[in-house]
Amino acid sequence: MKINLKVWRQKNSNTPGKLVEYQLDNVSEDMSFLEMFDVLNDSLTRKGEEPVAFDHDCREGICGTCSMYINGRPHGPQTGATTCQLHMRSFNDGDTIVVEPWRARSFPVIKDLMVDRLAFDRIIQAGGYVSVNTGSAPDANEILIPRSIADEAMDAAACIGCGACVAACKNASAMLFVSAKVSQLAILPQGKAEHKERAERMVAQMDAEGFGACSFTGACSVECPKSISLDHIARLNREYLGAKLTSDNIQG
């Protein structure tokens, strides 16, 4: 099939970018979307033009590295899947496909389709953990966790940290990402001891990073490749409100 691409090219974070058109004549419908980019890059390299920079690694939908905004949707037209799991059979012969990087002030562009998502790591560093040192754990079966609780925690923990939720949100809010971690650890008994501080600190860091406010449109959950539920945002709100009402942190 023939595909017309409009790809965002940007040399680095200090240089303005623009959409550049490319045409591919020999695309197989069995190719993955990223393999189509490999083919594009091969032909660009042979022509002496610099290949398109894009983030990708596992190419099986779990590492969360790939991050393309395709025809106005994070990870493209397929729901419940990452860019690397998208195949060309989802498109038609002759289609024009617009490919951009994640757009959010907190995710600055590094080059072409590649953005900096370190803000997510800093949010986790602010409290997305249980404070337990190696060696000080009790036997794994000492605390019983009902299956329904374990399953719910797993639903939240499935987040791959790709940032599609932020890219999908008109406010570039990171609430779905933050809520998935807060929720996972708030549900499990292991996370209970620190649940208040966690919600407070992670939300504070999210705000400090410049992510926008949540207006609960639900776009994040629809575009999430792991279909993380909005229920977690509800739980985060509850956790955060509860923490604030009883907070020992008088500064804020």
Partner: protein, 645 residues
């Protein structure tokens, strides 16, 4: 070189306890005087960095990914083994040890493997405490499943995403230490050289992948937790960025490389669909519990299927060959990975493979669906079937799945002693990057166990012994000549890569290497083929350095340049793998030499001549490496021929 494995004396079950007592300790107040460099943030790296920081050491952690959470450990599906015996089904530390030694076809060290089995139980405790949501029973206790042909249920799992959850657990512990100021994180940073001075590892030279800047980092010890080298085959289940560069450059600085030819080929992967294929996707091994593997009985039928003239569902039972069930009546479709893979290859070699390429066999669920119902099968494998359909566009409920073996894991790696130290003092290798625990074949659900065992429960003890011996003053600054020389060498190499200005993109050269390795050093190897491979690799090396095309600049984000450095190292490693495969005149585990097989086509070991670890010593550019041997001593298990008939 004399290899000292440093396996402690005494009865097997007491070795680790005795050793821990014999190791020197670093006073708690002195730990902050030591700097430790950890390269890689997968299960081994993240767990080591977090645990060492908790003890009070200053840690610098490096990864090439944009976040430590994306290391390839995240992609492991099946589970993690631990000898908890929660199921009361006869498991024990000794049984896990025995299964691992036997599964590795008796090419691993007894002492190391027993320690691995011992600490396996602590890993589960630790992960649960971190909030890892393992699968549970309705009553709230942890669930287990049997995996990879084990006769006990000792595998813990978190849906089909066990690696992800364990890595996120280790990542959270690491993140906590970052916020405590004990770990400094360097993401999008690739190690390009090891600095050795005065016979000790002193630090590393890295490239900042965003700015292209070359920088040095000095420390008292360096831990390589950089994973395996499966991408030498180009197509594998590894992530695109997985590479051997850190380990290989350490090898060139004096670290011996153990058993490089031991690679694992996983039988149930989605087949290649075209020349543009960039990676292969693994389908969990658990599918073989219910799926039946077959190909058409005749080449003619296979040809019709390949051309699309015949549907597999229309081929009557008597024209199908369920070859695993036929050849291995007692284990059937559940034979170990190496056996299943080799048989699939043989069928395709005979011309009976399916799919357009002829490089696939069927994995059929029709009988299971008839027997247990659509619902039951969906509950068990729904997510896998969905993943398969996403990739192939075919519905496995209606037409049989197609599978083909793919490179999955490398048992070989940097040689380490019992303390996980390489032959360069102060340089350690953990997880898949070392060679130590899986022998010639790794069992399912054991990779996660080993990565976390090394990082959480082994290195925190053993590293202290070295640090206490050298003392805090034994460190050199980054402006020392050794660092400056290494930086210069790296800058020169980068300049050289950018100045070749040839015709072929690096990816294309990498593909060619992959074809050579897969053809001659893959599932089956022969002396004749390996000799051809060696010549081809040498020719490819010349082609690479004279005709590679790397565009862009050194001082910017440049993915082609990153890849070029990695492929250059893969080419050199490929040659060593071929040498290793050629010298090992026996078949064992994943290493199958066609000349050495039993009359019915099974791997034939030669314990008299090859019960050793082959540890290769670099001699300089273009010179053949020297083979060192570490004999393997078996005092607790009896060496037997594996049989699955």
């Amino acid at each position: 070189m004399k290899l000292e494995s440093k396996i402690p004396e005494g009865p097997l079950a007491e070795k680790w306890a005795r050793h821990k007592f014999a190791l020197k300790l670093v006073n708690p107040a002195n730990k902050r005087k030591y700097d430790i460099i950890v390269v890689g943030t997968g299960l081994a790296g993240a767990s080591a960095a977090a645990s060492l920081a908790e003890l009070g050491y200053n840690v610098k952690a490096f990864c090439y990914q944009d976040s430590p959470r994306r290391a390839h450990s995240i992609a492991a599906q099946g589970g993690i083994n631990a000898a908890k015996n929660y199921q009361n089904d006869g498991d024990s530390v000794f049984r896990l040890f025995y299964d691992t030694i036997k599964g590795g076809d008796y090419r691993a060290r007894e002492g190391n493997v027993h320690r691995l089995a011992e600490v396996s139980v602590n890993i589960i405790d630790q992960c649960v405490a971190q909030g890892v949501p393992f699968a549970r029973e309705y009553g709230g206790v942890l669930a287990n499943r049997s995996f990879g042909g084990a006769q006990v249920s000792r595998t813990f799992y978190a849906r089909g995403q066990t690696g992800q959850q364990l890595l996120l657990g280790a990542y959270s512990a690491l993140s906590r230490q970052v916020s405590n100021g004990k770990v400094k994180l360097y993401t999008r940073t690739e190690m390009l050289d090891l600095v050795v001075e005065g016979g000790k590892a002193r630090g590393i030279v890295v490239r900042n992948l965003v700015t292209g800047k070359i920088e040095s980092h000095s420390g008292h010890a360096v831990l390589l937790c950089t994973g395996g080298y499966g991408n030498v085959f180009y197509l594998s289940t590894n992530a695109m960025g997985c590479n051997v560069t850190a380990a290989w450059r350490a090898h060139k600085k004096g670290a011996l490389f153990g058993n490089p030819c031991f690679t694992q080929i996983h039988p149930t992967c989605i087949p290649v669909s075209g020349h543009y294929q960039s990676k292969l996707t693994l389908m969990s091994e658990s599918l073989r519990n219910d799926g039946r593997v077959w190909v058409p009985k005749t080449v003619e039928d296979a040809e019709k299927i390949r051309k699309g003239q015949l549907k597999p569902t229309d081929l009557p039972e008597d024209k199908r060959d369920y070859f695993l069930e036929r050849r291995y009546p007692s284990f059937g479709n559940l034979v170990p990975r190496d056996v299943a893979s080799r048989n699939a290859k043989n069928m395709c070699d005979e011309g009976r493979g399916v799919s357009k390429t002829g490089l696939a066999v069927y994995l059929d669920f029709a009988d299971a669906i008839k027997r247990d119902g659509h619902k039951t099968i969906e509950a068990k494998y729904g997510n896998l079937f969905e993943m398969y359909e996403k990739i192939t566009g075919e519905n496995p409920y209606e037409t049989p799945m197609m599978i083909y073996p793919a490179v999955h894991y490398t048992m070989g790696g940097l040689w380490v002693d019992y303390n996980l130290m390489t032959t360069v003092p102060g340089l350690y290798a953990l997880g898949e990057a070392n060679f130590s625990d899986h022998g010639a074949n790794r069992l399912g659900a054991s990779a996660l166990m080993q990565g976390l065992a090394d990082g959480y429960f082994v290195i925190p003890y053993t590293i202290g012994d070295y640090l206490a011996t050298i003392g805090p003053a034994d460190k050199i600054p980054v402006d020392a000549p050794a660092f400056k020389e290494a930086e210069k060498k790296i800058q020169d190499q980068i300049k050289q890569l950018l100045s070749i200005k040839g015709d072929r993109p690096v990816d294309d050269l990498h593909k060619e290497l992959g074809h050579i390795m897969w053809e001659y050093c893959g599932m089956a190897r022969s002396a004749e083929g390996l000799k051809i491979a060696k010549q081809k690799i040498q020719a490819l090396r010349n082609e690479f350095w004279s005709n590679a095309k790397v565009l862009g600049d050194a001082e910017e984000m440049n993915q082609a340049l990153e890849q070029a450095g990695r492929v250059a190292d893969f080419i050199e490693l490929g040659e060593l793998m071929v040498d290793d495969a050629l010298h090992r005149n026996e078949s064992c585990g994943g290493h199958f030499r066609e000349e050495y097989q039993t009359p019915d086509g099974e791997a034939l070991r030669d314990d008299e001549h090859f019960a050793y670890v082959a540890a290769w010593e670099y001699q300089g550019e273009g010179k053949p490496e020297i083979l060192n041997k570490e004999p393997l001593v078996f005092e607790n298990v009896k060496l037997t021929q594996r049989s699955y008939k």
